[in-house]
């Protein structure tokens, strides 16, 4: 069993530092009426004629919801598309694990939903740290996503009349979430995957399996291609294109333990960042309230229990501290339904950041349950009594089974025990309204961009955003750039490609030649512990300073002490992991700097120095209503902070109350 060494901080603790850059005033956002912005913007975008589309090459990296939907749609339009995935099939991306559902402002329920309300809920849910133009567009295209997915044959849940069913999700007082039992992500991803396979069959898209991006090639501020490694043969190749789209997901695995898949990593976006792409709000990390608690050090990942469970499950702890009675023996009067008490308007369906912090608070107060005291109950007994087993099985059957397999306890008999865990990253590459990074021709879509969720994402909005970007936004906006690239000849025989390839080979060589004694996972666990302790559910200046020096020190040790067996030539999973963890170690530092610099609390980012007496986030709109876009300066240099001011013309940022 690997031991986690407690990191020792050097006696002199350097504060995280950065340099102030310029304000970002160009984000390609249209102006005027909010409702007409996207339509007018589309009308003003340059077009590429069909005969020219055939001559333009696009690289898409990643085939999750965003990547697969984008690649398929670009193929349908007639572009030449190359898709690179590190999986052994494009159907395996982690979007497949999304459980609960996808939001859309269809108002099929007649419960008062509208594009405006979805827009408002999303921007409020993000604690007013996202762009109005982007979020409104997201709500607007949400409607078309459901239409398209139904046309693809995705078997959404239906009512007896044959029409689509919906349910509620956190942060909304409406039922706008479409779902396919507890496997909505799987069904939507398989829809996008199938559309992609159709384009493969038609010859418009080529998919390269088992290929991982190791660098982005940039020349004169424009993306020219990528460096990829064939994970089976170890071959390193240069690939040129007229535009590069990164759809490589989030970086929650920086924390080692998260609900992400084991291979999910930040390498693509981090390499792009090192080549000049700004990184937006890196410390905005969503910690999901309902996960199965950690049970030991051997544990390789944490498992999410869908937010949809909070539709019918009630969260509680015993009113008496240290109450060790089995939960069913605790009478109702001695149960503390703290969410229902603290937030009567939303109850168990408060947004994720609020629910996570509340769970931490009751556990910190000593009311936690289970062997470690770091868990709360999620109880279905009332719902089972009210609706019967059959109905509850229809809604959550697979989740109940999964919980029982992992814990050996049946949620039919005893409440689930849950605790928050890292789940999603709102931060990511900075992009403008066209989803283009500050490097021309380099796009980031889905969770890989910093996007539309501000400081907290609402449940069932990740699927919506991934598919909005891939099906309905990027295919329009990318043409605006490509129309200017018609005469560009593609070549991999340039200095920029040669440099990128050389650096990649050096990085691999360095890792293989470090004849250390400690495994990659040992370092990764250490990094995860630092980030979870100091840059997790709650942050403070002192802790962040400590974390900064700990990560610095860990990174130095990594390049001296890590042990990577095997060679580059051939299938080497240890080397793959070592490259990813090397990038997490650099990204971790930027996350710390970002969390340190933002001296306010907002959404997921709770700075303990800035909270109300009740422990709610205390936002500071005067000084921090901006996107923090960080620019890389080098391994030893402090990054430069560019601020993109957020202005609110249509909504008034208010204290975000769910009471």
């Amino acid at each position: 069993m690997a031991e986690i060494a407690t990191p020792v901080a050097p006696s002199v603790v350097p504060a995280p530092s950065w340099r102030e850059g310029e304000l970002i005033l160009q984000n390609a956002c249209p102006t005027g009426d909010l409702e007409k912005r996207w339509t007018r913007h589309k009308d003003n975008l340059r077009l590429v004629a069909p005969h020219n589309k055939r001559k333009l090459e696009i690289i898409v990296v990643g085939a999750g919801l965003a990547g697969a939907s984008a690649a398929a749609t670009l193929g349908e339009l007639g572009y030449r598309v190359k898709v690179f995935v590190y999986h052994n099939s494009p159907r395996r991306a982690h979007s497949i694990a999304a459980q609960g559902g996808i939001n859309a402002a269809k108002n099929y329920r007649n419960d008062g939903d509208s594009i405006w309300r979805l827009f408002y809920d999303t921007i409020k849910g993000g604690d007013f740290r996202a762009r109005e133009s982007n979020v409104y567009r997201l709500a607007e295209v949400s409607v078309k996503i459901i239409d398209h997915c139904v046309a693809q044959g995705i078997p959404f849940a239906r009512e007896y009349g044959g029409y689509l069913d919906t349910r509620s999700f956190g942060g909304a007082q409406l039922m706008r979430t479409f779902y396919a039992r507890g496997q909505t992500g799987q069904q939507l991803l398989l829809g996008a995957y199938a559309a992609l396979q159709r384009q493969v069959e038609l010859g418009n898209v080529q998919v390269f399996y088992n290929h991982e991006l190791l660098d982005v090639v940039v020349e004169e501020g424009k993306a020219k291609g990528v460096i990829v490694r064939n994970l089976i043969t170890g071959q390193i190749s240069r690939v040129a294109a007229h535009a590069v789209v990164l759809a490589t997901g989030g970086y929650g695995n920086a924390y080692y333990l998260s609900t992400n898949a084991k291979m999910s990593n930040a390498t693509a976006i981090w390499r792009a960042h090192r080549r000049g792409a700004y990184f937006g709000n890196p410390s905005f990390v969503q910690i999901h309230p309902t996960c199965i608690p950690q049970s030991g050090d051997y544990q390789s990942k944490l498992t999410l229990m869908s937010e949809s469970l909070r539709n019918d499950g009630r969260v509680w702890v015993p009113r008496k501290k240290g109450d060790t009675r089995p939960p069913h023996e605790t009478p109702d009067s001695e149960r503390w339904y703290y969410l229902e008490e603290w937030y009567p308007a939303f109850g168990n369906l408060v947004p994720r950041d609020i629910a996570s912090r509340a769970a931490k608070r009751v556990c910190d107060m000593g009311y936690g349950v289970g062997p470690t005291g770091r868990a709360v109950y999620l109880d279905f007994s009332d719902a089972i009594r009210r609706f019967g087993r059959e109905v509850i099985y229809q809604r959550y059957g697979n989740l109940f089974e999964m919980y029982e397999e992992i814990t050996g306890e049946s949620p039919w008999e005893t409440p689930m025990r849950i605790y928050p865990a890292v789940h999603y990253t709102m931060g990511g590459l900075w992009v403008d309204y066209n989803l283009m990074t500050n490097i021309e021709g380099l796009y980031a879509i889905g969770e890989a961009n910093f996007s539309d969720h501000g400081a907290n994402r609402l449940g069932a909005s990740a699927l919506m955003q991934g598919l909005a970007d891939g099906y309905f936004i990027l295919p329009y906006t990318i043409g605006h750039y490509l129309a200017t690239q018609l005469t560009q000849k593609l070549s991999t025989d340039t200095a920029a490609f040669a440099d990128a390839e050389k650096e990649t080979r050096q990085r691999i060589g360095n890792l293989l030649n470090t004849k250390g004694t400690r495994t990659v996972d040992e370092f990764h666990r250490e990094l995860g512990k630092i980030l979870w302790d100091q840059c997790g559910l709650a942050r403070n200046a002192e802790g962040l300073r400590t974390a900064m020096s700990q990560i610095r020190e860990l990174r130095e040790r990594y390049w001296k002490e890590v042990k990577v067996v095997g060679t580059n030539e051939g299938f080497n999973q240890t080397l793959e992991k070592a490259l990813r963890v090397a990038d997490f170690l650099e990204l971790g530092e930027l996350m710390i700097i970002d969390a340190y610099h933002r001296e306010e609390s907002c959404g997921c980012h709770l700075r303990e120095e800035y909270q109300t007496e009740e422990g709610e986030a205390l936002r500071n709109d005067k000084d921090y209503a901006y996107v923090a876009a960080w620019q890389w300066q080098g391994e030893k240099e402090p990054p430069v902070l560019h601020k993109e001011p957020l202005t609110f013309e249509f909504v008034k940022p208010t204290v975000r109350s769910y009471k």
Partner: protein, 252 residues
């Protein structure tokens, strides 16, 4: 817990493979099967030996990456579960466990326990979709679908593409995999325009990849983590006969 592992080691597709025996100790009963292999690999790396290569990713039973043949069964001793959702408490302390890759001619070994399952994607390429371009869909509720039809279609649509059905089958048939997609789309109104062509082309590709024929033993459904019912195969057979033997009403 302590285990003796007999693990299939194979350098690459061209080299012959063999079993190697390893001892692994101090495994918690609540560790998953893959976490037990993580513990083995950490130990091997520390000893300067090559760790055992195996496929895995989501570790919650949905991505379909993991697939080990454990003690002679696809995904191990429990029915209808992925390897990542198998826990060591289901084994006895001191057990000897034999671990092999999924074996089938269309699944060549890449290394150790990792096999190439891209043949399954090529079957989907031949029609495992509805040909609709982005942007052309009507309003979602303009096509009412009976709840029972949607529910059945969902049951078939949950296939995770792990290939356990192939590994469990004595003929290495991909019938359960192929039929799950055929049945899913055949049950929905959206799937009707391409129904005839779909079943013909997907079955032809399944044969071309070298998968064997189905002899209805049902071994596949016992292991299938998505619990795809055997009725999928019956639905495919019916569609296949219909598509091949009844006259195409639109033939010239």
């Amino acid at each position: 817990m302590r285990f003796t592992l007999r693990v299939w080691r194979q350098k690459d597709a061209k080299s012959p493979g063999q079993f190697e025996t390893y001892e692994v100790d101090g495994v918690p009963a609540d560790a998953s099967f893959l976490e037990m292999l993580d513990i083995l690999n950490e130990k091997l790396i520390k000893e300067g030996k090559e760790p055992v290569a195996f496929d895995h990713d989501c570790r919650e039973g949905i991505c379909g990456s993991c697939g080990l043949f454990i003690n002679g069964r696809a995904h191990g001793p429990l029915p209808n579960i992925t390897t990542c959702r198998l826990y060591m408490r289901h084994f006895k302390d001191g057990d000897t466990i034999t671990i092999e890759p999924f074996r089938a001619r269309p699944f060549p070994v890449i290394k150790d326990l990792v096999v190439d399952r891209s043949a399954l994607d090529r079957i989907i390429q031949k029609g495992g979709y509805i040909s609709v371009n982005t942007g052309s869909a009507p309003d979602a509720n303009s096509i009412p679908i009976a709840k029972a039809a949607a529910d059945r279609a969902f049951d078939y649509a949950t296939c995770i593409g792990c290939g356990a059905c192939v590994a469990a089958c004595k003929n290495a048939s991909a019938m359960l995999f192929t039929s799950a997609k055929v049945a899913h789309l055949a049950l929905l109104p959206q799937g009707q325009p391409e129904r005839r062509e779909r079943v013909k082309r997907m079955v032809a590709q399944m044969d071309a990849e070298g998968f064997g024929h189905c002899s209805n033993t049902g071994a596949c459904a016992v292991e299938c983590p998505a619990k795809i019912p055997l009725s999928a195969i019956a639905r495919l057979q019916r569609d296949f006969i219909w598509a091949n033997l009844t006259p195409d009403p639109y033939a010239r």
